[in-house]
């Protein structure tokens, strides 16, 4: 199955988790997702998700005008974002547990 389709539904939760885990800049978010087992993840997916989470007010942002290199946008979870991360995490854990169980070769369907 196309892992891109599987990823799509959890991407907002993954991005919130990455930001919550201290990856507050766009490049860090992309890097952390790629090193966390999603090497194929595209920048457009991450950027689009960031824009959407910002529009939904789950993330807030400020601009760090660093002395070296271009200004960087620093993201933080809002209180609403913390709530969305918590519920996203819980529903994924419940869902993935159920799917893993159902797909085990010795699982019984009765």
């Amino acid at each position: 199955m196309d892992s891109g389709q599987l990823l799509k539904g959890v991407l907002p939760t993954l991005v919130l988790a990455a930001v919550d885990g201290g990856n507050e800049y766009g490049y860090k978010i992309l890097q952390s997702l790629r090193t966390a087992g999603m090497p194929q993840i595209g920048d457009a997916s991450v950027y689009g998700t960031l824009q959407r989470l910002f529009a939904d007010r789950l993330l807030s942002s400020r601009i760090d005008s660093g002395s070296l290199g271009p200004a960087r946008k620093c993201y933080t979870l809002t209180a609403q974002g913390q709530g969305a991360l918590k519920s996203g995490r819980e529903s994924w854990l419940a869902f993935s547990g159920a799917i893993t169980h159902a797909l085990q070769e010795d699982s019984t369907w009765e």
């Binding site: 991407l11 950027y47 824009q51 529009a55 290199g69």
Partner: protein, 189 residues
């Protein structure tokens, strides 16, 4: 490497313009939300150590991935639509340029609309959100300087599941920037 940073920024800006052209069929607010930060994002990511400028595929592929991420349909047909869109875009650009000139002549400075209400609340006309998904409605609202309010799900036989079919205040209402617009979305039959 240091010498190339200006070059990387110029390439990021050019790439972002390419993506914007690929999104020219989208409503203005939605397109603004998607591309307003794109050039800055690309050069920031590039400078941060991901060699993005060299790894990126065509602007068309980036735009397609962006559409898929935020639940916006892919464009239907290319050439004829694109010509119409191109001329519409030129008209829009001309209007924007005139507006900008008039605006700068009156001495006030204007920024890209932010979802956070500014102290000088400007009037905004609420967009028609019929047919949008909640994700794309939120971005469209942000792009015109409004925010998404309450989302209400209502059963509907006529409107496809997940599509917005009404808003409060309704489309075409004059409100101040930063106002929350509630949407009614179909939960299917």
């Amino acid at each position: 490497m240091g010498v190339t940073s200006d070059n990387a920024e110029a390439r990021a800006a050019e790439y972002a313009r390419g993506v914007e052209r690929e999104l020219s069929d989208l409503p203005t607010g939605l397109r603004n939300s998607l591309v307003a930060d794109l050039a800055a994002h690309l050069s920031e990511v590039n400078a941060g150590g991901v060699p993005l400028i060299d790894e990126l595929a065509s602007p068309a592929e980036y735009a397609a991935e962006l559409r898929s991420t935020i639940d916006v349909p892919q464009p239907r047909r290319a050439s004829r639509d694109r010509k119409i869109m191109a001329s519409a875009l030129i008209c829009l650009f001309a209007v924007a340029l005139i507006a900008l000139l008039v605006h700068s002549a009156t001495g006030s400075s204007s920024q890209v609309p932010q979802p956070v209400p500014t102290s000088t609340a400007q009037a905004v006309i609420t967009p028609d959100l019929a047919g949008f998904t909640v994700k794309s409605a939120s971005l469209e609202l942000q792009g015109v300087g409004l925010i998404l309010g309450t989302v209400t799900e209502v059963r509907s036989d006529n409107v496809p599941d997940g599509k917005v079919f009404a808003s409060t205040p309704k489309a075409g209402t004059k409100v101040s920037a930063g106002t929350a617009v509630g949407v009614v979305v179909s939960s299917g039959p």
